[in-house]
Amino acid sequence: MNLNTLDYTNEQLNKLIRNSSDSVVLDNCLGQRFIGAGLSDKTIVVNGTPGNALGSYLNGATVVVNGNAQDAVGDTMNEGQIIIHGNSGDATGYAMRGGKIYVKGNAGYRAGIHMKAYKEKLPVMIIGGRCGSFLGEYLAGGIIIVLGLNDDGKKIVGNFPCTGMHGGKVFLKKTADAIDFPSQVNVHDADKTDMEEISVYLKEYCKAFDLDIQKIMDTQFVVITPNSANPYKRMYVEN
């Protein structure tokens, strides 16, 4: 089903998407919010610039954006896939607890803030370019990978990455950038086991954006994990 987003109000649009038994293509999208919120089936293709909270609470559906996404992509998403052929805004993957977000370009501030994992749920976010400050802030679980494929000469990540991180793993392409991590995390060069852990996601990512998987697998990454003598841990409830 093809919908020209200009013909509907935000509410009508989301109702049409929700009630469609078929996949949906949205043309001329311009700032409509909550697209795909809570959906568990079908594929939504967005042509244009979707509004904030794209795919929030997503529960299994697939959202593909041909353009840039705004803030809070995949807010609290539970399952499914969001693929963005552009950049995404601040707080991408905010409190995400399952599913995958793949961004071809850059992400804004606070990417993956408070992502978490539980039992079989493991959220994964891959950013092709670079990220703003506070990447993985309060990270509690899941995997964030930043590939650093950007060529604008800017640092792969802004200030204060992994602040408050007490779970999960962050992979950053190893660069010459001076990055200050808090003392509550450990940083080590990715080894074979680390790369094996993420290879399945990287393959999926490369397929989505037509990239050379081998080139990425050959890249040296650093891995950030919570410090085992982690003082943050005592600040949160054991579970």
Partner: protein, 364 residues
């Protein structure tokens, strides 16, 4: 009786947008009004407003005062006060359009004023200081009269309502300016009323603001020592006065203003080269009470340019786009794409990174 700002606190977001032509080409207000439409949900109908620069070329040598009056009596009282020290070159109701979505409007008037030489001489003040003090006096002492803006060749148009309706109400499509800023309000702590809508302006400085500054009282206490009066008890007002104080009175440049109000963290300053470290330390130390904390994205308009700035933690969104001689700023990318679907360069500035755009000298 409806309580005004400061008389009630509602514990409970906003939208900003701007466009400027670096070559000074004048644009109708239609496009900036339209840019607010996709960001409708960021406001709640309790305030919308616009500032236009370069809109009064035929009166550019005079201070354009936009006023709200609660009633005719206070209008008369205010005019008597103005005539003591100004020549009123022209006075007229601000043209508006009756629409169902904008109601309860005050008396809305504009005056083009020229300060009397004799008044300036007797007060021993330069013209701009005199005009600023006049605005401050009216807002403080003439109850029911509000100076909405008082700069040259610019004006602020604001109301209670959604921004797109406010633009329609003020017939902004009939004006042409080289720079426009816009605001949609979602008041978080105070009720919405006409005087409390953005932009807030003093002389040619105007501010639109999305956020909530937690340093308001610290900033207010400092700025009130220098003759400013925060009458509207809303945080944005103080940002306007800080800009006026630092730029006009202290002679700081725009980058320095940004380094004061969105000062980098000490840990960030520590990593800078010695000269930069010294400069930033100086600004943070001397003007420590003017550090603005809490979330904000602001657009400062001024004669011949604008500056966009996020708080240092970037707790509010802001996107910048460029195309030919125009620069666009907005809370959301979609707003920029309404004004220019075929945008070239679109990016998000970092927290505390000032985006300064100036019109070529002599083109405004």
């Amino acid at each position: 009786m409806q309580l005004k700002e400061g008389q009630i606190r509602i514990p409970s977001g906003c939208a900003v947008s701007a466009v400027i032509s670096k070559s000074g080409k004048r644009m109708s207000g239609e496009s900036i009004v339209k840019s607010m439409v996709p960001m409708h949900e960021r406001s709640n109908g309790l305030g919308g407003g616009f500032a236009g620069y370069g809109i009064y070329p035929e009166y550019k040598d005079f201070y354009a005062f936009h006023f709200f009056f609660d009633n005719k009596a206070v209008k008369h009282e205010c005019e008597v006060y103005l005539k003591e020290s100004f020549e009123i070159v022209k006075s007229e109701p601000l043209p508006t359009r009756k629409i169902p979505s904008i109601v309860d409007e005050p008396i809305i008037y504009r005056y083009f004023l020229s300060p009397l030489r004799s008044a300036l001489a007797s007060y021993q003040l330069d013209e701009r200081e005199f005009v600023a003090r006049t605005a401050m006096h009216i807002n403080t002492f003439i109850k029911g009269a509000y100076v909405v803006s008082c700069g040259k060749n610019m004006g602020v148009f604001k109301a209670v309502g959604f921004p797109e309706d406010v633009g329609n109400f003020y017939r902004l499509e009939e004006y042409e300016g080289y720079s426009w800023t816009a605001h949609g309000r979602y008041p978080t702590n105070t009720p919405g009323w006409w005087g409390g809508a953005h932009p807030f302006a003093l002389l040619d400085y105007s501010i639109v603001h999305n956020g909530e500054i937690s340093s308001y009282d610290a900033n207010r206490r400092f700025i009130e020592m220098y003759g400013y009066k925060c009458n509207l008890q809303t945080d944005t007002e103080v940002i306007t006065y800080i800009a006026d104080y630092l730029l006009r009175k202290q002679g700081l440049n725009l980058d320095e203003l940004a380094n004061v109000i969105a000062a980098p963290f000490w840990s960030t300053i520590a990593k800078k080269c010695p000269e930069e470290k010294e400069r930033l330390t100086y600004l943070r130390t001397v003007y420590s009470s003017l550090l603005i904390t809490g979330p904000f994205s602001i657009i400062l308009g001024f004669e011949g340019g604008l500056m966009a700035l996020n708080d240092r933690l970037k707790l509010r969104s802001m996107v910048v786009g460029e195309k030919n001689d125009k620069v666009y700023v907005a809370s959301e990318e979609c707003a920029i794409r309404v004004m220019q679907p075929d945008i070239d360069n679109i990016y998000s500035p970092e927290g505390g990174e000032a985006i300064i755009v100036k019109v070529e000298e002599g083109k405004y």
